[in-house]
């Protein structure tokens, strides 16, 4: 495997605010997920990778070069930021002509490449429409098309799924996987939702409060997390019977029934086993489920557990 990014003890601070703190990470080719809660430092990391900001300490190499004050390297990198910046008065094709021009592309070669990337992201039909009227999913696709246009070796996608509905999310996940498998781009994609990243890649790095707290294969990280008790809320009818069944299960740590008997708070030490056995639990207890939700879905609690805070 080729190393595409090497960050050694890098720190970045904005005045008194620390963006990254003694951050070390090695990323190899393929798809790598950067996962962390909001404010963890994901966007700061991407800004450093694209040379928009410079490190205050440590060493950062992207494709074997330092990114700060190195615009030539950006011909090998495509960046899709997490925020919306597309000019509403341009149509999709005009926007891509602008991006292509900035990369020194012109003429039939540019036109051909625009058609190609519009096809890859599924935006050919809407490319002549003004971007001000685009949906969130269409804007995300167009941003990705812009980052793909110059056929970069490395694609940096910062929270590409944020704000999209489940259908668009699935399509974007499939697209990101294809960008690597079919089109051969190395991809670094960030998200604050672990299971979304899991559907794209098995290689992840977890970032929390400016530090890389774990990186590697997702199954290894999952095993690190498996001992961490998860709180799950269950609502519906027949909760008393469900509570009786739950206490007999090996993954259950504790069960707490609300006075109205319509709500259960379950603490489990192996959440995957719990979720896998939900159909069986319903069958055994004959309860009617209205809501099942993990309160630990936000990564904060998991990260606090991993770093021992």
């Amino acid at each position: 495997m080729t190393i595409i990014i090497q960050a050694q003890n890098i720190s970045k601070w904005y005045g008194k605010v620390i963006g990254l703190n003694n951050f070390s990470l090695t990323v190899e080719s393929g798809i790598t997920g950067i996962v962390g809660p909001n404010g963890a430092g994901k966007s700061t990391f991407f800004k450093l990778l694209t040379g928009n900001i410079k490190v205050n300490a440590g060493q950062l190499k992207v494709l074997d070069q330092q990114p700060w004050r190195n615009p030539a390297q950006l011909s090998q990198i495509g960046f899709c930021p997490d925020y919306d910046f597309l000019p509403g008065e341009l149509d999709g094709r005009e926007y891509l002509r602008f991006v292509g021009g900035l990369h020194g592309m012109k003429g039939p070669k540019l036109k051909g490449r625009i058609d190609e990337v519009l096809n890859v992201v599924g935006m050919t039909k809407d490319a002549e429409r003004q971007m001000g009227g685009y949906s969130k999913g269409m804007r995300q696709r167009t941003k990705i098309a812009g980052s793909l246009l110059h056929d970069p070796r490395l694609l940096l996608l910062d929270e590409p799924l944020t704000g999209t509905d489940p259908v668009v999310r699935k399509e974007l996940i499939d697209l990101i996987r294809d960008l690597n498998k079919v089109h051969g781009h190395d991809v670094i994609v960030s998200s604050h939702v672990l299971h979304e990243i899991e559907r794209m890649t098995h290689m992840v790095a977890l970032i929390y409060k400016g530090r890389a707290v774990a990186s590697g294969n997702i199954s290894e990280i999952r095993s690190l997390m498996s001992d961490h008790p998860h709180n799950i809320v269950i609502e519906g009818g027949g909760m008393v019977d469900l509570a009786k069944v739950l206490v007999s299960k090996p993954f259950t740590v504790s069960v707490e029934l609300n006075p109205d008997r319509k709500r259960l708070m379950v603490k489990v030490d192996r959440p995957e086993q719990f979720f896998d056995s939900v159909p069986l639990l319903v069958e055994e207890s004959r309860c009617q489920l209205e809501r099942v939700e993990s309160l630990d879905d936000d990564l904060e609690s998991v990260f606090r557990y991993l770093v021992g805070w």
């Binding site: 904005y14 900001i53 011909s75 930021p81 910046f85 602008f98 990369h103 020194g104 812009g146």
Partner: protein, 264 residues
């Protein structure tokens, strides 16, 4: 030692010369379009109507003549509209893109940031030149339509258009660099326009000569035969050289600041 002309090392960054040219051309094309389509055109339209109204009204006064037209164009356009429009457009051009983060497309492209900055500058200077030329032409035409098209009227309008274009070139360079260097460039810009150019520039003596406005008036005095501006002393060629040198210095400073700017 061999030279490869298709690929040059430019200020440390390496990008093919033709690709840099395409990048620069793209910057200019899209920035001009963005500036012209911006809702600020409404302000420009109102200012144009105001200038047309004032010039037309002055032209109907009993003692109005070509000298009056010259004085009014000096006061309204050269002294007021030129720096104010340059401030409105120039100080906000890059600053707004940094604030709304639309600059990301430019700074994540392989185009050297100094070339991008040059693209911003050229677009700004072109757009300001076009707008100021139109306003000057409309104002002058209104005056002479109401007052009668006298001998030298066309020459007067063309002379002021030429001076406005030179002014647009130098003020664009000044206010663009303010937009890169400062978070709130408009405040310093207003102080500069109204205190330095307006107040200090009106003080008799040598200090008043250290303004862009004065240098433009010196150039204008060589082109215009009517009005008080024609009596301003000085060498127009030297004034033009001073303004060109100032523009080059401001653009160079801006380009280097932009290259080193961390964009959060």
């Amino acid at each position: 030692m061999t030279w490869n002309l298709s690929s040059v090392t430019w200020w440390g960054g390496k990008m093919k010369l033709d690709a840099s040219f395409i990048g620069l051309r793209t910057m200019v094309q899209f920035s001009i379009r963005k500036l012209l389509l911006h809702r600020r055109w409404a302000i420009v339209a109102i200012l144009t109507l105001l200038v047309a109204g004032v010039m037309g009204y002055i032209a109907t006064q009993s003692d109005a003549g070509i000298s009056t037209a010259s004085d009014m164009m000096n006061l309204l356009m050269l002294t007021f509209l030129l720096p104010v429009l340059a401030l409105i457009y120039g100080a906000s051009m890059i600053r707004n893109e940094i604030d709304d983060r639309s600059i990301i497309q430019v700074i994540t492209s392989p185009l050297d940031r100094r070339v991008s900055y040059l693209g911003y500058y050229l677009s700004l200077a072109v757009v300001l030149s076009i707008l100021l030329s139109i306003i000057t032409a409309v104002g002058g035409t209104c005056f002479f339509l109401m007052n009668g098209w006298s001998d030298g009227a066309t020459e007067l309008i063309l002379a002021f258009i030429a001076v406005q274009v030179i002014g647009a070139i130098v003020y664009s360079a000044l206010f663009l660099v303010m937009g890169v260097a400062l978070k709130q460039p408009i405040y310093l810009g207003l102080i500069y326009v109204f205190v330095w150019e307006g107040y200090v520039g009106s003080v008799p003596g040598a200090i008043g000569e250290y303004t862009i406005r004065h240098q433009l008036q010196v150039i204008a005095s060589g082109l215009v035969q009517d009005g008080s501006i024609a009596t301003i002393g000085g060498d127009g060629g030297v004034a033009a050289m001073v303004l060109i040198a100032l523009s080059v210095v401001f653009v160079a400073i801006g380009a280097f600041l932009f290259q080193d700017k961390e964009v959060m």
